[in-house]
């Protein structure tokens, strides 16, 4: 079924164990270029663990994760976390926002372009001597930062302390910061958490914009079903570390295994209201 989609990220048989607990168990799926792939599942299904494996913060015990660039695949499980961002060009955001709180909004975006600036400034030496070549690189970095500030609507807050922004703006800034690393795959860990419906709607626009205009793949963990159903092109459903379904959003929401996972066999506390509504409508 994935034959028609050129895969960007291929995850094959990934297993991540903590002691006796299989947080992610023999999981395989792929995410395509220019598509938004959502990973959903009840709490504790292993979604964030999967993200940490893909972005190198955990090393899975078993499995292979290949990121297909134009010039060939990069095996993510072999790279350190910071090399995954710089070499494989996978960027991520965090469930609990991790901005550089006491630095300005703009500085956050400039730090994200560290690699380019370091190369241009010969490890800051050229910058220390004030050479033109560094100024050129800095100007380019500023242009990119300005572009993304404009995209996320924070252009007027460029000099504000990042930590002083309202919650929704911090979420958007984190996405802008990740995009400033010029990634081919952007991993978003619950980007809509804590957003109000209006902000959540704006986020949908931002994410589809990134997909359509920048042609990169997006991988998304989300609980907010309006986001998942509204923008994702492909949905992977996890439960207890295993994949229980993988399909388009329309088909996934009718999948009996998914409904069972969310409803649970005997208790249904984990059920998000949106899914509950969908389930009721369908049945």
């Amino acid at each position: 079924m994935t034959a028609t989609r050129p895969p960007l990220l291929e995850v094959e048989h990934v297993t991540m164990r903590f002691g006796g607990l299989f947080a992610v168990n023999d999981l395989s799926f792929s995410a395509a270029r220019k598509q938004i792939t959502a990973v959903i599942g009840p709490n504790g299904a292993g979604k964030t663990t999967l993200f940490n494996c893909i972005t190198g913060f955990y090393k899975p015990q078993v499995g292979r994760m290949a990121l297909h660039h134009d010039d060939g695949p990069v095996l993510l499980e072999r790279l350190d976390d910071h090399r995954i961002a710089s070499r494989a060009r996978v960027a991520r955001t965090f469930q609990n926002i991790r901005l550089f709180a006491r630095m300005s909004v703009l500085e956050n975006l400039i730090v994200a372009q560290h690699q380019d600036l370091m190369k241009a400034s010969a490890f800051s030496l050229a910058g220390l001597l004030g050479l033109a070549r560094y100024h050129k690189a800095e100007k380019k970095a500023l242009e990119r930062a300005r572009y993304w500030l404009d995209k996320v609507g924070l252009l007027d807050h460029a000099d504000d302390e990042a930590g002083s922004l309202p919650y929704g703006s911090q979420r958007r800034l984190e996405i802008a910061r990740a995009m400033c690393t010029d990634p081919v795959l952007l991993c978003l860990d619950e980007p809509a958490a804590g957003l109000n419906p209006r902000e959540s709607h704006e986020l949908n626009g931002l994410l589809t914009g990134i997909r359509d205009e920048h042609g990169i793949g997006l991988l998304l963990i989300e609980h907010d079903m309006s986001v998942v159903m509204g923008i994702s092109d492909w949905v992977v459903v996890l439960d207890y570390g295993r994949k229980i379904a993988e399909d388009t959003p329309e088909r996934v929401r009718r999948d009996p295994a998914v409904i069972r996972a969310y409803l649970g066999e005997e208790e249904n506390e984990d059920l998000p209201p949106e899914v509950a509504r969908d389930v009721e409508e369908d049945s």
Binding site: T55, G56, F57, D81, H82, R83, I84, A85, S86, A91, R92, F94, R98, L99, F100, A101, R102, M103, S104, L106, E107, I110, V111, A112, H114, Q115, L117, M118, S121, F123, S124, G127, L128, Y134, H135, E138, K139, L142, A145, R146, L149, L155, A158, D159, R177, A178, T181
Partner: protein
């Protein structure tokens, strides 16, 4: 502090009374006894009235503080905010004024040899503070063994100059490089540590260096130290009363009458220049990728890694850069003293340097200057108070921490703006 705003009379009195009791308990061993040196032998005398006075002073002070709070907050707290805000506006102007004042200081009518000497000492600590500020203030790595790099710099210069006869200006960069090398050597084992754990290891490292200096008799001369360290020259012109064979002294060359002050003033300008160099470097590097990476690392290491910043190189570069400036300061210290021994590089030095950085407001360059003046200059002023010097010093520290808990100057301005490099 803010939570105790609504205090009753009763609460205020109780609080003051408890404060007085604590003061009495502390004062009993510290002030209550004294050694009486009579003709026959030493005996212990008592002066319990002093204990009573100390308790009363603390009781009254605490009560006054509580009453002030009852009547709407500490006025001096607001003064602090205001001063900081004004400093923010006129910081540029203020720092130039400070540099100007420092430049003309030796030629002002009231300055004499001892003042210039003290100013030199303060400047050494300013420079060390600026060096440590890179590690602690910018990169957020708590380093309690900074004096080790100061020692490495001092011994590098002392050994190179006494063994090979190299001049100060040749040895200075070498001493900086050696110290930077030690910075990397310390950096490697502590890469995974943060916060308290890092502090403990760096503390240990500082002690290791001191113990090695003390025990490696053949190289360092052990506790006896190294003496006869050559003094610096101005382009080969020594500051001596009589020139060595076939040479000229500074005084002869410029047709001045020889004076011991020349060297003191010269040393003052050397350290002023070195300190300003450190400052310039830090101000510049803060606006460069490396400096921003240091600050980003201080803010969030995990986010750094997710953006492709390699924490290893960032930490090592911070350690190495900070250590390099400590090395410069160390070799200046060696050439100024002419004699060094492990005694000069004890833990208390690290603590003072760290206190300067913390008190100044982490990451603030001007704050470091003010804090160095307070911490190194103040004890010199209090010399007339003799045995109560440290008491006055401690009191001053308490007041500062009450007044400005996050350091004297703790505001931070962005290093880049959309208009360009700013």
């Amino acid at each position: 502090m803010a939570a105790t705003r609504s205090i009753t009379w009763r609460g205020a009195l109780t609080d003051a009374f408890v404060g007085g009791l604590v003061a009495a308990a502390l004062a009993l061993p510290m002030l209550g006894f004294r050694l009486v040196d009579s003709a026959l032998a030493l005996s212990v005398g008592f002066r319990l009235d002093w204990v009573l006075w100390a308790a009363l002073v603390v009781f009254a002070g605490r009560l006054a503080l509580n009453l002030l709070r009852m009547t709407g907050g500490l006025p001096d707290l607001r003064l602090g905010e205001r001063l900081s805000a004004r400093m923010g506006n006129t910081r540029h102007w203020a720092s130039w004024a400070m540099i100007g004042f420092a430049t003309v200081l030796p030629f002002l009518p009231f300055s004499d040899r001892s003042l210039v000497d003290k100013a030199t000492m303060v400047l050494i600590y300013v420079m060390l503070g600026w060096g440590l500020n890179i590690v602690v203030g910018l990169a957020g790595l708590l380093d309690l063994g900074f004096v080790a790099f100061y020692a490495v710099g001092a011994y590098s210069y002392a050994l190179l100059s006494t063994t090979f006869g190299w001049s100060f200006w040749v040895c200075l960069p070498l001493a900086g490089l050696f110290a930077a090398g030690f910075g990397v050597a310390l950096g490697f084992p502590v890469l995974r540590l943060r916060g308290d754990y890092l502090a403990i290891v760096t503390l240990g490292f500082g002690e290791i260096i001191r113990v090695i200096l003390q025990n490696w008799q053949d190289l360092t001369g052990g506790p006896a130290g190294i003496s006869g360290i050559p003094r610096p020259t101005l382009f080969g012109l020594p500051f001596l009363a009589r020139a060595p064979e076939g040479g000229q002294t500074f005084a002869e060359f410029f047709g001045l009458k020889f004076s011991g002050d020349h060297r003191v003033i010269f040393l003052y300008f050397v350290i002023l220049m070195l300190a300003l160099l450190t400052n310039l470097f830090t101000l510049r590097i803060r606006r460069l990728p490396v400096g921003r990476a240091w600050e980003a690392l201080r803010e969030d290491e995990i986010a750094c890694r997710s953006l492709g910043l390699n924490p290893t190189t960032i930490k090592l570069s911070a350690f190495a850069t900070g250590a390099m400036f400590a090395g410069f300061a160390g070799s200046f210290f060696a050439t100024r003293q002419g004699f060094i021994s492990p005694e000069s590089f004890t833990f208390i030095e690290s603590a003072v340097i760290l206190a300067i950085v913390v008190l100044g407001g982490m990451g603030s360059q001007v704050g470091v200057v003010l804090a160095a003046l307070l911490l190194v200059g103040l004890p010199e002023w209090f010399r007339e108070l003799q045995q109560y010097r440290m008491l006055a010093f401690g009191g001053a520290m308490v007041l500062i921490m009450l007044w400005r808990p996050s350091g004297l100057l703790s505001s931070r301005s962005p290093t880049i703006s959309l208009g360009g490099g700013k």
